[in-house]
Amino acid sequence: MTTVRLATIMAIIVLLALVVAAQTQTTPPLPSTPRSVSFPKPIERTLPNGLRVIVVERHNTPLVSAMLVIKNGGEVDPLELAGVSDLTANLLTKGTTTRSATRIAQEVEGLGGLLDSGAQWDSSRVSVGVMSEKIGPAMSILADVARQPTFKNDEIERLRQQYIDSLTLALDEPGSIARFVGTKVLYGDGPYGHPISGTLESLKRISRSDILKIHRLFYRPDNAILLIGGDINSTAGFSLATRFFGGWLKPRTPVPTLSAANKATDQRTGRVVVIDKPDAGQAAVFLIRRGIDRKDSDYYRGIVTNSVLNGYSGRLNQEIRIKRGLSYGAGSSLDARRNVGPFVAVAQTKNESGAEVADLLKSEVERLSSAPPADAELTPRKAVLIGDFSRNLETVNGLVSRISSLALHGLSLDEINRYIDNVQRITAADVQRFANMKLDAKSSDIIIVGNSKAFLPDLQKRYANVEVIPFAELDLNTRLLKKKQVQ
């Protein structure tokens, strides 16, 4: 209860500050009156082809970002083709009917710009950021790569190999292995159950026609949002949008709807999975369970609850790092997606402390539902959220991506100006209620990746159902996680 105690001390200090004055000051000076914040107001229009265009002006730095958001991502990957949406999005910048991959890179970088594309779970994005005077040519390239990619075979092979190499790198790291395993355990064969950039097996299966199919089905103006933000006047923004995207034809077929199967399965009882990697320099410890979807009416209760656990002075880091020195950092995340995304609590620690840290993660999540946080704890945790939010909106990229997420989920863009109030309104009782309803620790899964010799006996004392899988036998394509024995 360090936080509570310190907050009390703070209150005393504040009183003292009024008494002591000119002497050497032993207490922190009081804050002055806060200044209010307001964020730029996005303006939007829909082009006749169905493309929704949003412009948000901010002129303090001569930079502009433009982003095209396609409203589907890794969630639509067929199970055996995990990674196809991300591969498709990434290939956009690798050649069009008018520009080769090399020329695209030369032109964008010649402008000093960054062109980036990739898929998230619910969307695929391609974006470009440049000095404001170069936004015209940058938009021309953005439109070209989104509308007319060629997906040449040699580019597919090149990128496939790069994906395999990156995945091989990730499979050397305890933290990323734990994340892959955790999502498979939680979602199984559901839409979020694979690594978003694929598995070693699925990447080898993806063909050019699979990629063309993703592009044909989902990359269409009436399934997309274009955002332009920064040092640009809205009239100029809309005219660039019309010039480069106005001629993008809307297909006659309706936008595909996601099948009912695209729902996360119910939470199962907690598995405890150990991936034994004897050469691991540290153990990664994960607690994972179902969280909420983005339109959940508990969204703000959820993010405030998560903030009580997460952050430098959040409960997890307090207990694991600050009090016990067991990790360089512990934290949690509540990833609200179109469907129910995961809640994750995580820390890396020396192999010997793997079981102890797993227990600490679990007991801190449990403690949230057993008692409401004191206001002296909750108020600063809300301030953290509000501060992070406000600072994130200080950069053009932050502003554009925050608005894009509201637009993607069909939420009011004005929510950026209501965020602070929405967070302030959450009470300690809300937090406890949310933890009770949505963050049951007992049904959560625990994953530890590390040198199991150092922590397994300790872990087996605490849990009866520990599954141990040698890293060499790990299979990320099945919820069983084990390769079939082939002799």
């Binding site: 015209g136 091989t168 790198l169 933290g175 006047n233 050469d279 360089y328």
Partner: protein, 461 residues
């Protein structure tokens, strides 16, 4: 900013005009307006008001880094940085977090080879509170043994997380360690577990007394504040801190010029081999730094950069490649490193890297490619300065490491004057065989009984 008059014309005109201007424009660089004064006790204070958001960034730069680690205490400057968040004369442990995080701000610190920087961003009405707090931890620490030991454990986990757990953590560590023969830069900032274990509470107090003094510190404040009020608060809280009489120790060791290629092979937990090359280059205030930065962009920034295009795209030899002009105060490194693709040989990657270096030495870079590199560097500079803490970092680095905060404004413009001949000259001057270190970092699994370890030519001179 795109001008109104252009926008009023037809969209087509906008595009043609901007396309035409794409190569040749000199971007308007927003200048940071700042004040610069030094208190009687030696504290330098740089202030830059900017009212675009109701926040303020406070940074204290101490001119002490891991090169100043005490003997047998590698990693100490960094461990000490962690101790600055424990109790001080008037603050309990972690009170800095109460004054920042709890009011919607944040704080952190970093230690490099040359400096240790503490920084906060808070709602602007808390500026006085933070000036008080920073002055308080400069005036004195009050750390106890329990705090010290638990924080030392945190740093050991940081070591494991950055060096031991990532497949190439030790590769980066070794590349730095082996690149210097005499200068204390050979000790990686994170240090070693043994030296961290040997550190004591007394070391903490001694280090504070030696280096944490007003004449070794620069306070930078950027954001929503009134300059007169800032001056008054700084005088009130920092003014009374005395400047010690003792001489401030400085590292005097000069790194000798390299006299022959050094080749090393090491083994690790990685699945894919990696290759690293380093070249010794001058300290960052040297006039060649600009041309080396441009060379870095040409070689390594973006997919059209020469190394990416040749090794990743064309030859498909490597999964990733990086070029970095790693500037330091006394002697810098230019690093090139690559992680190989499945089934490729380190020697082939090395040969291709050297071929790209040679091409840049033999043939002057074209005007378009030079312009591209400058546009990239300038756009990155603009991005870094979007926020108040980004501006404060630029001012602090210019003041402490380059000796003049004005260089935060002039350096981006100076990049514009780098010529193709400058790039060719620095490439020929520094990228020589005699000035080269090559490290192969191979999977432990590839080491077999009948292969002798290729470590024979280590440190030949």
């Amino acid at each position: 900013m795109i001008r109104e008059s252009l926008i009023q014309t037809a969209a087509i005109a906008v595009i043609i005009l901007t396309l035409h201007s794409a190569a040749a424009t000199q971007t308007r660089m927003p200048q940071i307006q700042f004040s610069d004064r030094t208190l009687k006790n030696g504290l330098r204070v740089i202030g830059a008001p900017d009212h675009s958001s109701p926040t303020v960034s406070i940074q204290v730069w101490y001119h002490v880094g891991s090169k100043d680690d005490p003997n047998q205490r590698s990693g100490f400057a960094h461990l000490f940085e962690h101790m600055m968040f424990k109790s001080t004369r008037n603050m309990k442990s972690e009170m800095m977090d109460r004054l920042t995080e709890d009011v919607g701000g944040f704080n952190n610190a970093f230690t490099s080879d040359d400096v240790t920087v503490y920084y906060e961003v808070v709602p602007s009405n808390y500026l006085e509170t933070l000036i008080w707090a920073e002055a308080d931890r400069l005036a004195g620490l009050n750390v106890d043994d329990t705090n010290f030991k638990s924080e030392r454990d945190v740093v050991k986990e940081e070591y494991r997380e950055s060096v031991l757990a990532p497949p190439y953590g030790r590769f980066e560590f070794l590349l730095q360690q082996r690149s210097y023969l005499a200068h204390p830069y050979m000790r990686p900032t994170i240090g070693s577990i043994e030296d961290l274990d040997a550190a004591s509470l007394k070391d903490v107090q001694d280090f504070h007394a030696t280096y944490y003094r007003p004449d070794n510190a620069t306070l930078v404040v950027v954001g929503d504040f009134d300059p007169k009020q800032l001056d008054a608060w700084v005088d009130k809280y920092f003014g009374p801190i005395a400047k010690p009489d003792r001489v401030l120790p400085r590292v005097g060791i000069k790194e000798p010029a390299r006299k022959g290629e050094v080749r090393l092979t090491e083994y690790g937990i990685n699945d894919l081999p990696s290759v690293g090359l380093t070249f010794l280059t001058p300290g960052q205030s040297d006039a060649d730094t600009d041309a080396l930065d441009v060379a870095q962009a040409i070689l390594g920034v973006g997919e059209s950069s020469r190394l990416y295009h040749a090794l990743v795209y064309e030859q498909q030899l490597v999964a990733e490649v990086a070029a970095r002009a790693d500037s330091r105060e006394d002697a810098s490194l230019f690093l090139v490193s690559a992680v190989l693709s499945e089934g490729k040989k380190p020697a082939d990657a090395e040969r291709s890297i050297l071929a790209e270096i040679k091409r840049l030495q033999d043939v002057p870079v074209s005007a378009a490619e030079l312009d591209k590199a400058k546009n990239q560097l300038i756009t990155n500079g603009l991005r870094e300065r979007e926020t108040s803490d980004g501006k404060a970092l630029a001012l602090g680095e210019a003041a402490v490491l380059l000796g003049d905060p004005k260089r935060a404004n002039t350096d981006l413009a100076r990049l514009q004057s780098v010529s193709a001949a400058d790039v060719q000259r620095v490439m020929r001057k520094y990228f020589t065989e005699a000035n080269r270190l090559v490290l192969y970092y191979l999977p432990e699994a590839s080491r077999t009984g009948n292969l002798h370890r290729d470590r024979t030519r280590k440190e030949v001179n």
